[in-house]
Symmetry: C2
Subunit: 255 residues, 2 copies
């Protein structure tokens, strides 16, 4: 029995998210359908986590177990031939027995992209949140410094999701290793956040609150107080899904 | 009567091209619909040229005539409010009487984007042609140097289109001011071509032939001979529409 790790990129626009669901097509379902055809039996694909409806990925990971003589290269080509064009396997490789896409992951990096100019280029509309207001990079950077390190992120957890996302016994405590903002192209800003794990909607809730600080609707001390309060009712709006992309899942060997 | 110049960006994926047609939605039709609502009378919008079905634009231009007291800023905002999200007016400004988006244009710049890696990121699939083979930048650059200057481009004109695209009395003679290739991101290459005008499908026919040279299916002397032969049957395949973007239409003041 082999354990195959997949690295997956997808345009989340047309999907109800990573997880198999009844209300629409999901990335997991498409992968399982394709893998089951290639392997000629029902395959369950285990993802490194879930992404919400509309969220994109460049480096999502998943694994599945299979007894096959097919090379990883052939598996990858076969999957890509069967998958829709908005889902691509960018890498397939054998892992040691016991590898688990989710439990072996040490960290994830997310990118949140927003554009502050008056008119967003339509070629970038599906991956960029349009926030047509000037933002203070200094204020956002100050907040990003505050979230780095280990904190209880209850204030940025989506209400009602407590039971589901706290499966590791560490409650809402997470460690952010790195959090930066950069202007990639004129007017296009990217928040890049790497952490050992994220609560449900945590990146979007952080992004929404950071953008409120950036626009001057809140100040840095208020952001700090929100984090410390551990009360979801204090934080800002959840930023839209389409600005979010899962860039990478980090495992021991690349961390 | 005022002459309003528009700069327009669009994702051409869902359109049958710039020009009003009966077989599907066109950019021109959407613009005329929106402009007619704002101006409360039937408006005809004149484009700087036509783009094929699936071709994108960042800086297409058009003009229309109107007697209105509305400011350009209000016109732009109103149009964007009425247009679908995949078409955006990025600028609207008054021009002198006699300005014509097409006849006043001195040059246009097109970009053709292709990716040579094995798996194309799905987030870029709608604007990038996937050509999963190594290409020789040196060979393509040599061909780009050959097309610079004034030539008869009959070999790169789509067969059967002669009557329509030769309206200026200059036959198939066009001048290319600048033609370059660059690697924008790893594996992503951009052909950038600026000329005083382009025959129907000329950029896509050039791109298709240049890519055949890049892959080694033809050599540079052969490319040169194709240009000189003025025979469409010799050139390579027409490169797919979705890799092409009209970047800019140049007028006197910015040229």
């Amino acid at each position: 029995m082999r354990t195959i790790k997949l690295v997956i990129a997808y345009d989340g626009t047309g999907y109800c998210g990573w997880q198999r669901q009844t209300n629409g097509p999901s990335i997991q379902q498409e992968l399982e359908r394709a893998a089951s055809i290639i392997c000629n039996r029902q395959i369950t694909v285990h993802g490194a986590g879930r992404t919400d409806a509309g969220v994109h990925a460049v480096g999502m990971t998943a694994h599945f177990s299979i007894a096959t003589a097919l090379s990883c290269r052939v598996l990858q080509k076969g999957l890509n031939a069967l998958l829709p064009e908005d889902i691509r396997i960018t890498a397939a490789e054998d892992e040691a027995t016991g590898f688990h896409a989710r439990f072996s992951a040490l960290a994830k990096t997310y990118r949140y992209t927003f554009f502050t100019g008056p008119v967003l280029c339509p070629l970038r509309r599906l991956t960029t949140y349009h926030l047509p207001y000037p933002v203070s990079l200094e204020a956002i950077t100050a907040c990003l410094e505050i979230i780095c390190g280990t904190h209880d992120f209850s204030s940025f957890e989506t209400a009602g999701s407590r039971d589901k996302s706290r499966t590791s016994g560490r409650g809402a405590i997470r460690t952010i290793f790195r959090a930066t903002i950069e202007e990639a192209d004129p007017g296009f800003f990217q928040l890049l956040i790497t952490g050992d794990g994220f609560l449900r909607h945590m990146v979007r809730n952080l992004a929404g609150t950071l953008l409120e600080v950036g626009r001057g609707k809140r100040d840095v001390p208020e952001f700090s107080a929100i984090l410390q309060a551990r009360d979801r009712n204090l934080a800002g709006a959840t930023a839209p899904a389409h600005g979010l992309t899962l860039l990478k899942v980090h495992y021991r060997y690349d961390w």
